[in-house]
C-alpha cells in the first residue's frame, strides 16, 4: 500500500479486489480494473497506475503498456460522452462517409478529439458488430442505428445538454 493507492476511490479498490478474486491469476483482472477506474473518472489517469499495479501485484510499467494497447481504455481525458461512429465497410456502403462529414462539421472535431465545450469525445470506430443497422454509432453505451443527418442532430442535441 503505497500512498498512491489512495488516489483510487475506496469503492473502486473494493471492486478491483472483488474482480481480482474471479481469476486464478491476478493479472487477468488488469483490463477490468482499468475499466473500473475509468468508470470513476471517465478515463484512466496515469497517476492511478501505481495503485492498480499495487492491488494486482504488478509492475506499474505493465499497467501502462496494457492500458496503452486497448482503444477503449482512455489514457487521456475525454468528454462527458464518447461517440463511436462506425465507418467500416457495411456502414460505408450505407453512407457512413456522409454521416462522418456531418458529425465532424457539427462538432468541429476529428477522430479522438474532444469538443471545446467538453461534451463529446468523438472516435471514428471500426465495425461495431451491428452492420444490419448501418450506419450506426455508440454514444456512451447506447447504440443508434440507421443514422441520417437529422437523426444524428437529434441524438447529439438531446444528449448531455
Amino acid at each position: 500500500m503505497t500512498p498512491e493507492t489512495h488516489t483510487l476511490a475506496p469503492a473502486a479498490v473494493a471492486d478491483i479486489r472483488e474482480i481480482k478474486a474471479r481469476y486464478p491469476v491476478a493479472q487477468s483482472a488488469l483490463v477490468p480494473a482499468l475499466l473500473r477506474v475509468q468508470a470513476e473518472y471517465g478515463w484512466v489517469p496515469p497517476e492511478t497506475y501505481d495503485g492498480i499495479a499495487e492491488l494486482l501485484g504488478l509492475d506499474t510499467e505493465v499497467v501502462a503498456e496494457v492500458a496503452s494497447f486497448y482503444l477503449l481504455v482512455f489514457t487521456a481525458p475525454v468528454g462527458r460522452q464518447v461517440i463511436q461512429l462506425c465507418t467500416n465497410v457495411s456502414c460505408l456502403l450505407a453512407g457512413a462517409d456522409a454521416i462522418q462529414a456531418h458529425v465532424e462539421a457539427k462538432l468541429g472535431v476529428k477522430t479522438r478529439q474532444t469538443t471545446a465545450d467538453g461534451r463529446f469525445t468523438y472516435i471514428v470506430a471500426e465495425c461495431l458488430g451491428a452492420c444490419e443497422e448501418a450506419p450506426c454509432m455508440l454514444v456512451g453505451e447506447k447504440r443508434y442505428k440507421r443514422l441520417t443527418r437529422e437523426k444524428v442532430d437529434e441524438i447529439l442535441d438531446r444528449t448531455d445538454s
Binding site: M1, T2, P3, E47, D59, E61, V62, E65, F69
Partner: protein
C-alpha cells in the same frame, strides 16, 4: 549417428550440408553451427524466440510457407535452404518495410559501423526505396533516464529491450506502448521511482541506434575505439567487460561474455561508471602534510618519508587496510611487505565493524555463483541482492524462473519481492531469531532425517521467536515446508544483516539452519572489487596467503621458499583491532590502500579516535578521499583501467584486467608504489613483471589459477549448543522511537560513481523510507524534505513513504554511519515535497 533416448539428435540438411544437432535445436542454431549466418533482428540467444521481425526466413522442403528459422525446431530429415531466391526476396521485403520509416541518419548515429540493420541492408537491402509517403515522425533523442537516450525513429520494434526487462531483468523498464504502426518504446507517462539497474544491456542488444548511452553519445565512432578486455570491479561480481578508449580517454564500457559469471550482461554501474578514470579530480602528485594542509611534493620525498616512518614503526606497530581496490598482485605485495617486516596487521575489510574469523566466515561465496543454476531454494538473509550484486540477481532470477523458490528475511521488503515465495520483513536485527525458529521447524518436520545434534533445538519455542522478530509463525511453517521440499538451498547473508547489531548471531543461525536442512552453500555477500580475493592473497590478519591457518607448517614452508625468509606464525589485528590500537596510541603507522574508512567505516567516532591516535597515516588512492584528506602522506595511484594484473570477485575468481589507457602522468600503480617503499625499507620486492608476481603467488597459494574461483573455506555446517545461546541473546530490545535501518543502494554517490555524471543523477536524493502509518503520525508526505534526529545528531533527507519498511522502522542511507547499533530516531518535516530546488 548415435541416437539414445537420453540424448536424442536429429539430422537435417541445410544448403546441401548435413548436420546432426540435439533435438530441440532451432534451424537458426543448426545453420549457425554450419557457419551459415541467418540474419536476425528480434531473436537474441539469451531469450526465447519471438518470431516478430520476420528477417530470418528460410525455405523448408514440403512446407508451404517460408519459415522463421529462429522459431523453427529442426526435425529429422528436414531440408532447408537459407539463400533461395524466394528467401532473399522475402528478406528484402522485410528490410524494405523496416527502412521506410527509418531516418537513415547513419553518419551521425552512435551505432553506425556496428549496426546489424546497416549490415543487413548492405547485404539484402533493396537498392532504392519505393516509399514516397511522409515518414513516421517521433520526437528525436529523448532522454529516458540519466543514462539512456531513445531515438524512436531509428527503432525497428524488434522487442529485444522490452523482453530483456521481462525475461532477464524482471524490472519491466521499457515497454511497447500503443499498437500497430504507432507502437513505440516508452516508459510510463509518470515519473517512477527506482530506475532500472540493467538498462545498459538494452543498449547493447538494441540492433539499431535507437537506444544509446547518454554517456557515450557522440563521443566516438566504433572504428576509432581501441578496445581492451577487462573486468568490472565496482561491486564484487567480476563481470567481464571491455573498455573502449579513444585518444587515451575511456569512451565507454561494454559487456563481454563469461558464462560462469555475468553470462553476457552487466549492471549500469559497470556500464556507466567509467568517467572517473577521465576525471580532472585525479591525484597526480604526491601530497605531504605541512601542519593543517597537504602540499605537493616529489615522489622521492614522499616515499622516503613513508619508508622512514614504516621502518620506525617496526613489525607490530604498523598496520595496513585495503584490498578491494588493489589487484591481487598488489594485495600480495602489501602482505609480503608487512609479513616480511614482522607484521600481520592486515585487513581487507575497510568498511566493516565485524571481522569474524576468515576461515569460518570470510567474505565471499561458498562454491560458485554458477551453483545457483542448480539451487532448489535461494535464501536471502539480510541480503538486498539486486542493490548489492545486481548481476547475481539475474542468475538468481533465472533459477527462480526455472522453479527454484526464493526466500528473503530482511528488515525491508526487497524490490525483487514479486519473484520470491516467502518474504519475512523482520524487526531490524532479528534475522537470527527467524533463522533459529526456521531451524527448529525444519528439524521438527524432518524428524529422523535431521542431524542428531538438532536435538538441541527441541526446547525452542518457534512461535515465541517469530513473534519477537515480528513475523508470522504460519508463514515460517510454510517456509520450512518449502525449504525442505526444494533442496539444495543456497544461503546468502548480506549487508543488511552483517552491518546490523549482531552479525555473528546471524552467521551462526544461518549455519544452524543449513545444518538442519542437510547442507547447502553459505555465501557471505560482502565486499566490493577484489575484497574476498585480497584475503586469499594475504590481506588478512588471521590466516596466511591462501587462507591457510597461521600455524600451517606447509604454508609457512612455501612462503619461506618463495620469499627466502621465515615468517612468524602469528595472528595480527583486524580493522576494528587496528583502529582500537590506533586510538590507544599503540599503532604508529597505518597504510590505507584503495579504501576510504573515514567515509565508509560504519562507526564514525571509532575512526575519528583512531585517526587522532595513529602516529602516521599514509593513503594510496586515485582521488582525495575523506581518508586522504586526513593523511600525512597521499600517494596518487592508478585506476583499474590503467594497469595490468588480476582481480578476484566475491567467489575469489581470478580474472585478468587490462590496461585500457596510459596511466595518468604523475600517478603510479599501487604495485609500483609498494615496491618503491619495500626497497626503501630494505625488503626489496623485485619482479620482472606483474605476471611474475602472479606466478609466484600460484606457488604459495595452491588452488589459485586464472579463471577459476578459489575455494573459500567455511565453517562446518552443524548445530552448536553455544551458538543457540548466542543467537537467543542477540536481538536488541527495542527502545522508544523508530529504529533506524542503514540500507545500501546500487546508485549512490561514491568517489568513483559521483564522477560519472549519469550515475550521479541516478543516485538521486538521499531518502528516508517511512511507513505510511508512521508518516501519517508524523504528518509527512512522500517527497517531503525531513530531518531525522537520533543520538543528538541530525540528517536531512527526503521522505519516501511506502510500506516497503515496517511500521516503526526508518530506512536511511548507510552513509549516516550508525555504528552497527540500533538507533532510535524521530522524523520531522522541514519542507513539503517539491519545494526542494
Amino acid at each position: 549417428m548415435s541416437q539414445t533416448p537420453a540424448n536424442p539428435t536429429v539430422t537435417l540438411t541445410i544448403d546441401g550440408h548435413a548436420i546432426t544437432v540435439p533435438k530441440g535445436t532451432t534451424v537458426y542454431h543448426a545453420a549457425k553451427q554450419l557457419g551459415i549466418e541467418v540474419p536476425i533482428f528480434c531473436y537474441h540467444d539469451r531469450m526465447p524466440p519471438l518470431g516478430a521481425c520476420r528477417m530470418c526466413f528460410v525455405k523448408v522442403e514440403k512446407m508451404p510457407r517460408l519459415q522463421t528459422s529462429c522459431t523453427l525446431e529442426a526435425t529429422e530429415g528436414m531440408v532447408v535452404e537459407t539463400e533461395s531466391p524466394d528467401v532473399v526476396e522475402a528478406r528484402q521485403g522485410v528490410l524494405e518495410f523496416l527502412l521506410i520509416n527509418h531516418p537513415l541518419d547513419c553518419p551521425i548515429c552512435d551505432k553506425g559501423g556496428e549496426c546489424p540493420l546497416q549490415d543487413n541492408t548492405f547485404k539484402y537491402g533493396p537498392g532504392a526505396s519505393q516509399y514516397v509517403e511522409p515518414k513516421r515522425h517521433f520526437m528525436k533523442a529523448i532522454p529516458l533516464s540519466p543514462v539512456l537516450t531513445l531515438d524512436r525513429e531509428r527503432c525497428i520494434m524488434c522487442w529485444r529491450c522490452t523482453r530483456f526487462g521481462e525475461v532477464i531483468a524482471g524490472d519491466h523498464a521499457l515497454k511497447g506502448h500503443e499498437r500497430g504502426f504507432a507502437t513505440h518504446i516508452d516508459i510510463p507517462p509518470i515519473t517512477m521511482e527506482g530506475p532500472s539497474k540493467f538498462i545498459g544491456n538494452t543498449i547493447e542488444i538494441c540492433p539499431v541506434g535507437a537506444l544509446t548511452s547518454s554517456a557515450y553519445r557522440f563521443r566516438s565512432r566504433p572504428w576509432d575505439n581501441l578496445g581492451t578486455p577487462s573486468v568490472c570491479t565496482h561491486c564484487g561480481v567480476g563481470c567481464a567487460i571491455r573498455y573502449d578508449a579513444r585518444g587515451g580517454e575511456i569512451t565507454r564500457v561494454r559487456s563481454r561474455e563469461n558464462a560462469e559469471v555475468n553470462d553476457v550482461w552487466t549492471c549500469d554501474v559497470g556500464f556507466f561508471g567509467y568517467d572517473y578514470v577521465n576525471s580532472q579530480d585525479r591525484l597526480s602528485r604526491p601530497l605531504v602534510r605541512r601542519g593543517d594542509t597537504l602540499v605537493e611534493t616529489s615522489w622521492d620525498e614522499a616515499l622516503n618519508l613513508v619508508a622512514t616512518r614504516l621502518r620506525d614503526a617496526g613489525g607490530d606497530h604498523a598496520g595496513a587496510i585495503g584490498g578491494e581496490r588493489l589487484t591481487l598482485e598488489e594485495s600480495y605485495l602489501l602482505s609480503r611487505l608487512y609479513r616480511s617486516l614482522g607484521s600481520a596487521n592486515l585487513d581487507y575489510r575497510a568498511d566493516s565493524l565485524a571481522a569474524p574469523d576468515t576461515r569460518d566466515w570470510g567474505w565471499g561465496t561458498e562454491g560458485t555463483m554458477a551453483d545457483l543454476d542448480r539451487a532448489g531454494a535461494i535464501v536471502l538473509i539480510g541480503c538486498d541482492l539486486i542493490e548489492e550484486y545486481p548481476v547475481v540477481w539475474l542468475r538468481a532470477k533465472r533459477a527462480l524462473d526455472r522453479g527454484a523458490l526464493g526466500f528473503a528475511i530482511a528488515p525491508k521488503r526487497l524490490e525483487i519481492d514479486r519473484y520470491l515465495r516467502h518474504n519475512a520483513v523482520v524487526r531490524y536485527g532479528h534475522e537470527a531469531l527467524v533463522l533459529l525458529a526456521l531451524s527448529k521447524l525444519v528439524a521438527e518436520a524432518r524428524g529422523a532425517e535431521a542431524p542428531v545434534e538438532a536435538a538441541a533445538l527441541v526446547d525452542l519455542d518457534a512461535a515465541a521467536l517469530a513473534s519477537r522478530a515480528g513475523v508470522s509463525i504460519e508463514a515460517l511453517r510454510a517456509a520450512a515446508r518449502d525449504l525442505i521440499a526444494h533442496p539444495p538451498a543456497s544461503f546468502h547473508v548480506g549487508r543488511l544483516a552483517l552491518d546490523g547489531p549482531d552479525p555473528r548471531a546471524v552467521l551462526l543461525a544461518a549455519n544452524t539452519l543449513r545444518a538442519v536442512c542437510g547442507g547447502g552453500a553459505l555465501s557471505i555477500l560482502r565486499g566490493r572489487g577484489s575484497a574476498a580475493a585480497a584475503a586469499v592473497a594475504g590481506m588478512v590478519p588471521d590466516a596466511l596467503p591462501g587462507l591457510a591457518p597461521t600455524d600451517d607448517a606447509a604454508a609457512l614452508g612455501r612462503l619461506r621458499t618463495a620469499w627466502g625468509r621465515d615468517i612468524a606464525a602469528k595472528k595480527g589485528l583486524d580493522t576494528p583491532g587496528m583502529l582500537g590500537a590506533a586510538a590507544a596510541g599503540e599503532l604508529s603507522f597505518l597504510l590505507v590502500a584503495g579504501a576510504d574508512p573515514a567515509a565508509d567505516y560504519p562507526d564514525a567516532e571509532a575512526w575519528r579516535l583512531a585517526r587522532a591516535g595513529v602516529g602516521f597515516l599514509v593513503v594510496q588512492d586515485v582521488f582525495l578521499t575523506e581518508t586522504a584528506k586526513q593523511a600525512d602522506v597521499v600517494l596518487p595511484a592508478l585506476t583499474h583501467a590503467e594497469k595490468n594484473g588480476t582481480v578476484g570477485s566475491i567467489e575469489a575468481r581470478v580474472q585478468r584486467i587490462g590496461q585500457a589507457r596510459p596511466g595518468l602522468d604523475g600517478a603510479r600503480a599501487d604495485a609500483t608504489i609498494l615496491q618503491a617503499i619495500a626497497t626503501r625499507v630494505g625488503v626489496p620486492l623485485m619482479y620482472g613483471s606483474v605476471h611474475e608476481i602472479f606466478e609466484e603467488m600460484t606457488t604459495v597459494i595452491p588452488g589459485l589459477a586464472e579463471g577459476l574461483a578459489f575455494p573459500l573455506p567455511r565453517r562446518t555446517a552443524r548445530v552448536e549448543r553455544e551458538a543457540i545461546e548466542t543467537i537467543l541473546a542477540s536481538a536488541p530490545a527495542s527502545g522508544g522511537g523508530a529504529t533506524l535501518v542503514p540500507v545500501t543502494s546500487l546508485f549512490r554517490l561514491g568517489e568513483m560513481t559521483k564522477r560519472s555524471p549519469g550515475l550521479a543523477r541516478l543516485a538521486g536524493r538521499p531518502t528516508a523510507t517511512v511507513h505510511p502509518l508512521d508518516a501519517a503520525r508524523w504528518g509527512i508526505a512522500n517527497g517531503d524534505e525531513v530531518e531525522v534526529a537520533f543520538d543528538g545528531r541530525t540528517a536531512r533527507l527526503f521522505a519516501r513513504v511506502t510500506d516497503e519498511t515496517r511500521e516503526g522502522q526508518i530506512l536511511v542511507p548507510r552513509s549516516l554511519r550508525l555504528g552497527g547499533r540500533a538507533h532510535d530516531g524521530t522524523v520531522r518535516r522541514l519542507a513539503p515535497a517539491g519545494t526542494w530546488a
